[in-house]
């Protein structure tokens, strides 16, 4: 048996833990994928059950962020790699999709040039740069949305894991990576639209991006993709490979001494995580209608990390919940009092690291126990203690 086969061999599942949550999560996603488009498209606008189109797009956006959070949880929660540059993979996936949609504009741009996107005409470029070839073709763009982040993660991870850069050093250089990419994409010469990024998209696979139908389908597709990624991550972390990865998180040196090539396992998870982030970005761009270099900003990546921390890392579903909840809070708070959002976000960072290291889903059972005990009922359940949390 090869190593991978052995690693994937069925093994004793973690009993019960996470099963319920997985079931809840998947049903919620299924419900969103079916009900929200239905309520948006078939229920008349004046009905109380009507879901307005902006809400459809907003939900789609949250779910893309949740997918990014999922990818971060996979490497941080299970492998102990804190990447402060996952926004870069997200943005690269987004750019790949954006490039496809730019090509779809064709001669409907402001300058009416069928050969070149508007910004290239504006910059007086004569021909399409080579790296734009193939993006007229949708499957190619999708493959690129996965391949480019994956390749970057592979090169970056191959270099860093092999020389055993870890901990905060790794975090800092991932931050430098996304920062360098941000600077690069801000340059007009790069051929990605510079400051303004890519925008003014018209349609995707021939469907008008502004229409309710397309938006509903995009939301459903995001739900499906998120569910698929979740199941894949779940199966990985529940497998023997997952055990090994967790072991690396807890004591890398010991796993190495046991004879495993630690860097290869880390590299595998890192690349997979980057590809999930790329997919999330590819789904994100058609729903928000723009991608610009601001997505590479280091602050964005760190913010994504806090979604995971707030949701509860090392649980996968917690990350998804965190991604949706924090972004929902952001929408609400910035709508009511814009100034308060950064206070709230900063407060969340501090509170979650100091008081709820296990995040919402980790602290929930403890809180429930505490309430139960308060009420006076006896026999506290086994999961009541805040066990030493994983990772560093």
């Amino acid at each position: 048996m090869s190593l991978l086969q052995r690693l994937y061999a069925p093994q004793a599942q973690e009993p019960g833990k996470g099963r319920l949550a997985s079931a809840v999560l998947l049903s919620v996603l299924a419900a969103i994928a079916v009900l929200v488009p239905l309520l948006n498209l078939t229920v008349p606008a004046d009905s109380a059950f009507h879901v307005p189109t902006y809400l459809v797009s907003l939900l789609g956006k949250y779910l893309c962020f949740a997918m990014l959070a999922l990818s971060i949880d996979l490497i941080w929660g299970f492998c102990g790699i804190l990447s402060l540059g996952h926004g870069a993979f997200f943005a690269l996936g987004g750019y790949a999709m954006g490039m496809y949609m730019m090509r779809q504009i064709g001669d409907r741009g402001v300058y009416g040039n069928a050969e070149l996107p508007d910004f290239m005409v504006f910059l007086n470029w004569k021909e399409l740069p080579w790296y734009w070839y193939g993006f007229d073709f949708f499957p190619f763009a999708v493959v690129m949305a996965l391949f480019v982040p994956g390749l970057l993660a592979f090169v970056f991870g191959w270099l860093t894991f092999r020389s055993r850069v870890s901990g905060v050093y790794l975090s800092i250089i991932t931050q430098a990576m996304t920062y360098a990419l941000m600077l690069a994409f801000f340059r007009n010469d790069m051929g990605f639209g510079g400051n303004n990024g890519l925008t003014d998209f018209k349609d995707l696979l021939g469907f008008d991006l502004q229409s309710d139908n397309t938006r509903a389908v995009l939301l459903a597709a995001t739900c499906v993709a998120l569910a698929g990624c979740y199941l894949m991550c779940r199966s990985i972390v529940a497998s023997k490979l997952g055990r090994l990865i967790t072991a690396i998180r807890d004591d890398e040196a010991r796993v190495r001494f046991l004879g495993y090539r630690v860097e290869n396992f880390k590299l595998f998870v890192f690349v997979l995580s980057a590809m999930i982030a790329g997919l999330a970005g590819a789904l994100y761009v058609p729903q928000v209608g723009i991608i610009n270099p601001g997505e590479f900003a280091p602050a964005n990546s760190i913010e994504a990390v806090i979604w995971v921390a707030i949701g509860g890392r090392g649980t996968l579903y917690g990350a998804i919940a965190g991604g949706v909840l924090v972004n929902y809070a952001k929408t609400v708070l910035t709508g009511v009092i814009p100034e308060i959002w950064l206070f709230a976000l900063g407060g969340m960072f501090i509170a979650v690291t100091l008081f709820f290291p296990k995040g919402l889903v980790g602290s929930l059972p403890a809180a429930v126990d505490w309430v139960k005990r308060r009420i006076g009922k006896r026999n506290p359940p086994a999961s009541s203690s805040l066990a030493e949390e994983p990772g560093q």
Partner: protein
């Protein structure tokens, strides 16, 4: 007003050269001079066509009083008094009357109505020729600025006839800038000479220069009009080519010097920002993402101190930085200690959590400052001694504020080294860095040392903010702009080592600035970042790595 305009005039200029020589060579002019008083009276009486001759004779007297008289003539302020025919200078007063002054002595001679005097008539031709004479009179002016203008005018006109005048002026000239301009004018004139030797000498006289004018002058010699060389003599051409090449290479060297200077200045800014980080990271293993905000707090403290100075004691504004330095240090140090005691100390041993928590603190600090001071840039003034720039021959400029920052950062580095090596606190700090458990066992209050260390690191960030406020915009985002770079410095140099931070900051700054002309500012920065990411692969613990068992954990 231009000299060239006048050159077209003709005859007068020889006379003028003669005049100039007369003035420059003492005594020789005085005997030939006529009485200015009679000439002025003559000017009042002469017909329009004869006035030119009178002006020429006035110029020939070489008397310094000629200039105001001619100025008045051009400005149509020269009158004759109707009652006695005396020439006077008249200035309009508020009451519509004329205040008369004596043209020779400058003393007031009464106020009269405009009907009582008659303006001395001039025409365009006369005025322009008089203006031109005055333009050259300025070559002898006591004001260097006016002499410089006159010399530049000579360069533009490049008239052979002016050569003797330039020679004499050169012999007398003391001011370097004027001398420089005169030499250039002289070479330019000589290059038009018919003799190849003269031209060769002119080319050789330019050998020491690097300014754009002389380079243009030389490169013009190497041009062809169709098939014909502009410069017929091969020898002159060859010398010009060689001279030009050596100029370019010297210029290249100066540019490199300028880039080095900019690099070192950027490096010292990075050093200031990264020094505190190196201390906190090195001693406590704490990644303080709010470090940039400590810098920002320092900059805002400077702003507040300056505002206080502006409203309370505007005269002492130049001293505001002296007050801002300790104030910024205290402000940031206190915030840092509060952070450490209130939050970070609960997270020791969990560096990734610390990173997130301090990032949260940085967001809160940013938003607090934004709420108090507004999101826009704040104006921070520079004291007088920090303004201006040093200009060298090759046209490169070294600004004083950057020079001060370089000196300042070195002083701070020295001071911190002293604190670390020579004080009890420094000793305790180093002990905790090397072995926390053992230090504690020896009775060192590690908790207090941690707090003080964090305060010291943050305080240094605060004074970095004072320096940065002099060269950068003071906005709530100030810290964010430097945080990635400071981390790069620390990671590159190796943590917990001030010399590592120093080496890292300087090499980053210099490499950045040397790459800039070649690759552009943004691309240069990207290249540096990529280079560091690659460097980390080779030396994961930086240039000056701490060794020992504690490092691995």
């Amino acid at each position: 007003m231009s000299l060239r305009q006048w050159m077209r005039g003709g005859a007068l200029r020889f006379l003028m050269v003669f005049w100039a020589l007369a003035v420059l060579v003492p005594h020789s002019g005085a005997s030939a001079a006529e009485d200015l008083g009679t000439l002025v009276t003559e000017l009042g009486a002469a017909s329009l066509s004869k006035k030119q001759a009178v002006v020429d004779r006035m110029v020939a007297t070489g008397a310094p009083e000629v200039v105001p008289i001619l100025e008045a003539l051009v400005g149509r302020d020269l009158y004759t008094r109707k009652s006695d025919g005396v020439v006077v200078i008249g200035q309009k007063t508020s009451g519509g009357k004329l205040l008369l002054t004596d043209p020779l002595t400058g003393s007031e001679v009464g106020t009269v109505g405009s009907r009582e005097v008659k303006r001395i008539k001039t025409n365009n031709r006369l005025r322009s020729s008089v203006k031109a004479v005055m333009g050259t009179l300025t070559l002898m002016s006591p004001d260097p600025q006016r002499r410089l203008e006159a010399a530049d005018g000579l360069l533009k006109s490049s008239d052979q006839a002016m050569l003797p005048l330039i020679e004499t002026a050169l012999a007398k000239e003391a001011d370097a800038a004027v001398k420089n301009a005169l030499q250039l004018a002289k070479a330019s004139i000589k290059l038009q000479s018919d003799s190849a030797e003269e031209r060769l000498a002119a080319v050789q006289s330019l050998a020491d220069r690097t300014d754009p004018e002389s380079r243009v002058m030389l490169s013009r010699l190497l041009l062809k009009d169709g098939d014909v060389w502009r410069e017929p003599d091969e020898m002159v051409r060859a010398t010009a080519g060689k001279t030009l090449a050596s100029m370019e290479s010297r210029l290249e060297m100066w540019r490199t010097v300028e880039h080095l200077y900019q690099g070192i200045s950027l490096g010292s800014v990075l050093l200031l920002a990264a020094m505190g980080l190196a201390i906190t990271f090195g001693v406590m293993g704490v990644i303080n993402m709010a470090h940039g905000e400590m810098v920002m707090l320092g900059a805002y403290t400077t702003f507040v101190v300056q505002e206080v100075f502006r409203s309370v004691a505007p005269g002492l504004f130049d001293w505001s930085l002296a007050v801002a330095l300790p104030a910024a240090f205290l402000m940031s140090a206190l915030v840092g200690i509060a952070m450490e005691r209130g939050c970070i100390r609960f997270l020791y041993g969990r560096p990734l959590e610390t990173l997130l928590a301090t990032w949260g603190i940085s967001l809160v600090l940013q938003q607090t400052v934004r709420s108090i001071f507004g999101p826009t840039n704040r104006e921070v003034g520079a004291p007088e001694w920090m303004q201006g720039a040093m200009e060298s021959v090759a046209g490169i400029t070294l600004t004083y504020n950057r020079l001060w920052i370089i000196l300042f950062s070195f002083c701070v580095l020295g001071a911190v080294l002293l604190v670390l090596k020579k004080t009890a606190f420094g000793l305790q700090m180093r002990a905790v860095t090397q072995n926390r458990e053992m230090a504690r066992a020896m009775g060192i209050p590690t908790g207090r040392v941690d707090a003080m260390t964090f305060g010291l690191g943050s305080g240094i960030a605060g004074i970095a903010g004072v320096a940065l406020s002099q060269i950068d915009n003071v906005s709530p985002n100030l810290g964010q702009a430097y945080i990635v770079d400071s981390f790069m410095v620390v990671v590159f140099g190796g943590v917990g080592n001030l010399w590592g931070a120093f080496a890292g900051a300087m090499s980053l700054g210099v490499v950045n600035k040397l790459l800039e002309p070649w690759a552009g500012a943004v691309l240069g920065k990207i290249l540096v970042l990529v280079a560091i990411i690659l460097f980390i692969q080779k030396r994961p613990r930086g240039l000056f790595a701490l060794r020992g068992r504690a490092v691995e954990s």
